[in-house]
Amino acid sequence: MTNRPFGPDVLELDCAHEADRIGAVIRDKILRRFKKKGLVLGFSGGVDSSVVGALAVRALGKERVFGLLMPEHDSSLETLPLSQLIVEHLGIQTEHEDISAILEATRCYRRRDDAIRTVIPEYGPDWKSKIVLPGVLDGDQYRLFSVVAQSPAGEIIETRLTFEAYLGIVAATNFKQRTRKMLEYYHADRLNYAVAGTPNLLEYDQGFFVKLGDGAADIKPIAHLYKTQVYAMARYLELPETICSRPPTTDTYSLPQSQEEFYFSLPYDKMDLVLYGKNKGYTAAEIAAGMGLKTEQIERVLRDIEAKRRVAQYLHSPPVLLEDPPSTEEKALLQCAG
């Protein structure tokens, strides 16, 4: 398929039209269908939550949007000030809920550290860490997670994770996203609001979210926009420059971690283009030519996209029912929930 030459401009977005369309859907679903009075969302200081917040304010008015700032022990020092910057810019009501105490109570940090100690015995509570994947462009190797740990003296240790250690670390850190979602629904319940999720298309398609954590929401207004388009929307909405130019991070591990180290293995702008090309039926050779990369490199990324989609099927799947619900009304409600 070659409906137009492939290049970075394929992701150009009519932001004014798209913002109006998203606003209409937010008003229709939240106010009329769900009969809720507004939207709750968590702000991370990143571009996705900032854009969703701005679109919600544009659609509903600032008095119907409630923002939560939920940093924790491992959050970047930038997280809280940037979150405060955007909620002040939007002029919405907010609450600062530091979730570190809840995470201590669930033993999130201790469980994670115990899992790391199975591969780095000297790892202590005052160490910092992250888990990382190798890049996808330069070889056909399967990509296995490693843990990178930094001692208080600054010594860096990197070692491949065992399967059990990998699962243990991810399971423990998933407490963070699930705790935040629990608090979002607490505030939504007390205000009679719904909850907005903030994934972009790249995250939604590739399963870069925690099931029943940041994957849970009543509406996901930018889940159809590529990350590049979210940045364009941020500029169209005239959000603060520090938000518009902030690179994506996971803000989940105590060492700084880019999203491509943890999940995508390519910078977001390149992942966007490959995913767009795949979705629109461009060949690997066409995508490669448009991006200045080799065809075999794009073929590796396409295989990686397919592999992640297979894993994401479980994350997207609603609960399995043995029989359809008896009434179409109940079905419709379940579809809304799913």
């Binding site: 399967y142 296995l144 592999a307």
Partner: protein
């Protein structure tokens, strides 16, 4: 030594829960959906523990790990390799 049977039995019991119908010795694990990306981690760990080998990052490629035949050939190559730890443990003076 031929490791095909051992590898096939492991894949059938661990990833297919005893259902061997979908598995030929040249079936691609990833393309057929038998093993996903986390399954590859499990497969490599099993090989390292069961056969006392170390799978190096550059060896973690489909040519070595994406079918029963490929895995069996890979193990055979590793276990006859002079660098294999079991072989290195044999006293050279003998």
């Amino acid at each position: 030594m031929n490791y095909t049977t051992e590898v096939r039995d492991f894949i059938i019991s661990f990833f297919l829960f005893g259902d061997a119908a979908a598995l030929q010795d040249d079936t691609s694990f990833l393309s057929s959906g038998i093993v996903d990306s986390t399954g590859v981690m499990e497969l490599i760990m099993h090989l390292e523990q069961e056969f006392d080998i170390k799978v190096e990052p550059e060896e973690m490629i489909p040519d070595n790990l994406d079918s029963v035949n490929k895995v069996a050939q890979f193990i055979a190559g590793k276990t006859t390799d002079a660098c294999h730890p079991l072989i290195r443990a044999v006293p050279m003076e003998a």
